[in-house]
Amino acid sequence: MHALLALLLIIFLAKVFGELVERAGFPSILGEIAAGIVFGLLFLRPESDVLLFFSELGAIFLLFTAGYKEINLRELKTASRTALIPTISQVLLAFSFGFLIGRIFDFSQMASLFIGVAFSITSIGVSVRTLIDLNYLSKKIGSTMLASAILDDLIGIFMLTVVISIATYQQIPSGMEILVIAVRMICFIAIMTVLGRGVFPVLFTYIHRMRVKESIFAFVVVVALFSAYLAEAFGLHAVIGAFIGGVCLSSVPLAKIEDVQSKVSGIAYGIFIPIFFAFIGLSVDLVAMQTAGLFTLLVIVMALSGKLIGGFIGARIAGFDSYDSLIFGAGVMPRAGIELVVIAAGMEIGIIDDEIFSAIVLMIAISVIVTPVLLKFAIKLKETRITPESEAQQA
């Protein structure tokens, strides 16, 4: 198939399916993945380097915009104060469940680590809608869930960094190798910190005076690609570099002009990111999913219960009652964007096979569908069990 035709069909299907799914009350990511699956069924798997390249750019821009637009460094302090224990608990248990299931099914240690990381990260968007509908976002447990999602993302990206770095050794590395990895990471972060604090703010004061069109927008994209490239040069994955590049630009006023943000968002969410999600759908092997029935089922059950139980325990330790802890556990269950980046990276370096990949994609889809139902159930449970009288007694 001609690359142009493949691209236009992928974007068209991703947007149409995304809209349909969004209108049905679910996040558009499900529709975009479905678009890829349908595309694969209709046209088989086109071996297109162009699609692969665009999909890689999608993963880079997904993480870049997460750092550039969504991370507010001031928030981190508050978040870590309120949500550290529940976050560590749910991440730890979800990771352990993921690693365990990998080992039970005789996958390599590296593949099991990847499954663990893919289990660990939460995507809070789905829960936010339910919390708003049931007027729970502004309650203490709602804000703790939001705070937890910030920490969760950062812990997840850190885990991805570590796992990808050690994946290059194809086995658990020795002490010396771990030291080399740590030094590389520290060097990369140090360079990016210097650039973010000292170089980028000055650079953009010159860039905005340039006479060529869209200079600021172009240089924001340049920083995204540069940080992704630099990360690879340091043996890290491009998406991690893109995320850190985004964080570095998030406090540069000229790089964050609304018009520029809107353009970056336009190419990211309008083109590259839907292609990435559709490419995930395209890479799903339906036959492998069917043949690995038990494994797929266990991936879904363990991934959801890891977050639910881990979140419940963590929230209880942090002082919430059982009902609120159940709400917390249910609210941190959904997975979406970054998890897909994790498995795409694992597949790219040959650690994750079709079976694991397809099972995790299905788990992500199920988590997005099941979470609102379970979250509503947990909230209703609290409201029916805690009557106004008992609430007054507690107070």
Binding site: K69, V128, R129, L137
Partner: protein, 145 residues
Amino acid sequence: MVVDYTKIGVAEIMTRDVVTVIEETTIEDLLELFGTYHYHSYPVVTETGELSGIISEDIVLEILLFDRLPASGHTHLSAVRSLGDDASGIMMPYPVTVSPDTSLSETADLMLRHRVDRVCVTDSGKLIGILSKRDIVNEICKRRD
């Protein structure tokens, strides 16, 4: 006479009496402010007068209509903002600033090319004025007369 706008500094024409809010200003007080004045945005300053952010009509609209936005609009940041109970919790940090000696033509160029409606004028981090597109147009019209 041809006016050389590169020789006019923003300090000459900026609005000096800026209506500002402090970081602790409550959302209720902010909404009242938007009802009282016709300004599109309000700079947020610290107790020592340093500029820490800006609150625009867009942010206020986003907060007021948050529960009616489609799910795709519920980003993590907008959800956190919707829970903010004071100016520092909802403001956009790192607003675009210029120094008082920046020329009028350079500032106008920045506003036009990057669709910035107003810029805060700061001196060593402290807010000393604000300049909108309207201020520039008024000044140019005045000088043409």
